[in-house]
Subunit: 340 residues, 2 copies
């Protein structure tokens, strides 16, 4: 699945900044893909782009209206739909991660068809993936794995990409979830892929690189230790065949997300299990660093925790949000030179 | 998904016994569900049931025509379709595991609808499964796990069920693949379930038992060590929350099925990894026995291998086909009394 760029980010009439976090993510990580933002009367979010209407966005080169807002229930409001209709009529594609699918709205589908425009629901796969063949491929891959769901794997992976590019290294973020797909314009919505094709979809997402030193940075999903989603994570490990794993953690979580009776594994337990399973497919797989989401801690506590974790695991440990991810990029660069 | 019983087994005009192995499996494991077999001119298979036409099968109480044969490509032959039409017209449901779906044939769908009959393609899920909640539930569960795909997990699980019932124990085979579903009339086609719902589908398949000593015997799929399907296996381990694992192996396999560059893990490696992952959800999980498919060995070599494996792993080791599975049933009975 891939989206035509650049984007006009649709913020709708959301009541707060958090409801526009998808748009904020696109703005933060791919500003070069954004020509502006579209806000309706009453919108309380602002991602810091110029406000454009449909006509002026098209004049500025926009190709896709990306729904960067979420409302309660993930539905398509009647007021939003008016904007979508105008966008299609004037020549934009639309991409959405809303729970209510664009492709389930018959009038939008008919209009898109009549105008030759593309509606993309990033929640559902748009192509058939192969069964994984497990064949070794050129290039290097890094995967983020977590002690739990929603501990910052996407953010960490994007931050590593930025830091690697700043070092002049060749690296591509590979999206496996809907927000990541909207941010980068392509990827695999892994949680919606049929079981037999999960690992194959990730091989498809990370084809042989054109150079030996290119890194694919794969956005992790779920956790090997999360009863609901562990199978998705293992498919990602075996389909991604990573050379490097970055361990992600959120230190104030008292139980696994959505599972009140489950405690989180330690980072060393995560490292041992994830590396062990990764080596089934890639014998040189190793953990190269740790990313801790310290948002809930003050600066001093965050620093202490990172230092203690670094001493315990013997791996560079950062909060990518506070510290950036340059030390993780450096670890990957070092690993690449060892492998070469 | 569940099928109306009893069955008329459709063998079509297949050229050999192997092409009717699904029918043979139903005949072997659920003879009480079969009123007879339907064979077309030229059929070279015979599963040992009386030959019935549609009318006499209905008179004998048949409710579903089960396609127990497979032809090259898994398609619905024109000659087969004539029989399917007659079956629907006269009041039978039809169930099939063919690659070509009954539900993709518009004329069959229309006829079934007109006659109020059910077409079931066991390759695809017919219901929406929940996301797994990981909550502990009443009863006991056993799961077969393999060093590879296609090493005898279904057969072993069915043999354990038979042996447990012979001991007067309460046990239910729980099908997770198409042949198992056709054999028992219900189950989850796990390889076709969407990623996020895999573990939940297995929780759904194995609800809380009505007594503490009931065993759900869950058919395993794939292997934790198979790059293409490992995610399916881990979802099965976490959704099934097994108390007991039975390790399955085929000793002459030179590489993982379909993956020429991958060697099989040892049984002890399988045991350690599978038990470790199972304990994430069920802390009392343990390996209780080994099933080896010794079909390719002579009797003496088979006996030697089972004895050596038993000594190495300290677990009862049998070939369920040669020896039956009573020793595995005994191990489960012992475990149940230890837990109680």
């Amino acid at each position: 699945m891939s989206l035509a760029t650049p984007y006009l980010l649709f913020l709708g009439d959301v009541p707060d900044a958090l409801s526009a976090k998808v748009a904020q993510g696109i703005r933060d990580w791919r500003p070069e893909l954004c020509v502006g933002q579209y806000r309706m009367p009453g919108c309380q979010a602002d991602v810091g782009l110029r406000d454009l209407d449909i006509d002026s966005a098209i004049a500025a080169g926009a190709r896709t209206l990306v729904v960067g807002a979420a409302n309660r229930g993930g539905v398509i409001n009647a007021s939003w739909k008016q904007v979508f209709v105008e966008a299609l009529e004037k020549g934009l594609d639309i991409a959405s991660g809303l729970h209510e699918l664009l492709s389930d709205d018959e009038s939008l589908v008919a209009l898109a068809q009549a105008k030759g425009r593309q509606l993309t629901d990033v929640r559902i796969p748009t192509e058939e993936y192969p069964i994984a063949d497990g064949v070794a491929r050129r290039g290097l891959r890094c995967l983020t794995v977590g002690t739990d769901c929603s501990v910052g794997k996407m953010y960490t992976t994007l931050a590593i990409e930025r830091a690697m590019r700043a070092r002049g290294l060749s690296a591509s973020f590979r999206a496996t979830g809907q927000t990541g797909i909207l941010i980068t314009g392509e990827g695999v919505p892994l949680d919606a892929v049929v079981a037999d094709f999960m690992a194959g979809s990730i091989e498809h997402l990370t084809p042989p690189a054109s150079t030996d030193d290119h890194w694919d940075l794969i956005e992790g999903q779920g956790s090997l230790f999360h009863a609901s989603y562990s199978g998705v994570t293992l498919a990602l490990i075996h389909g991604g065949a990573p050379d490097a794993l970055v361990l992600c953690h959120e230190p104030t979580r008292t139980h696994m997300r959505g599972l009140p009776n489950y405690s989180l594994p330690s980072l060393s337990r995560l490292r041992d299990t994830a590396v062990d399973m990764a080596r089934v497919v890639n014998p040189r797989a190793q953990a190269v660093g740790v990313a801790i989401n310290t948002k809930a801690l003050d600066a001093e506590a965050a620093k202490t925790l990172c230092e203690r974790t670094e001493a315990e695991l013997g791996l560079p440990t950062v909060d990518p949000f506070r510290d950036g991810a340059d030390r993780l990029a450096e670890a990957l660069q070092t690993l690449a030179s060892e492998i070469a």
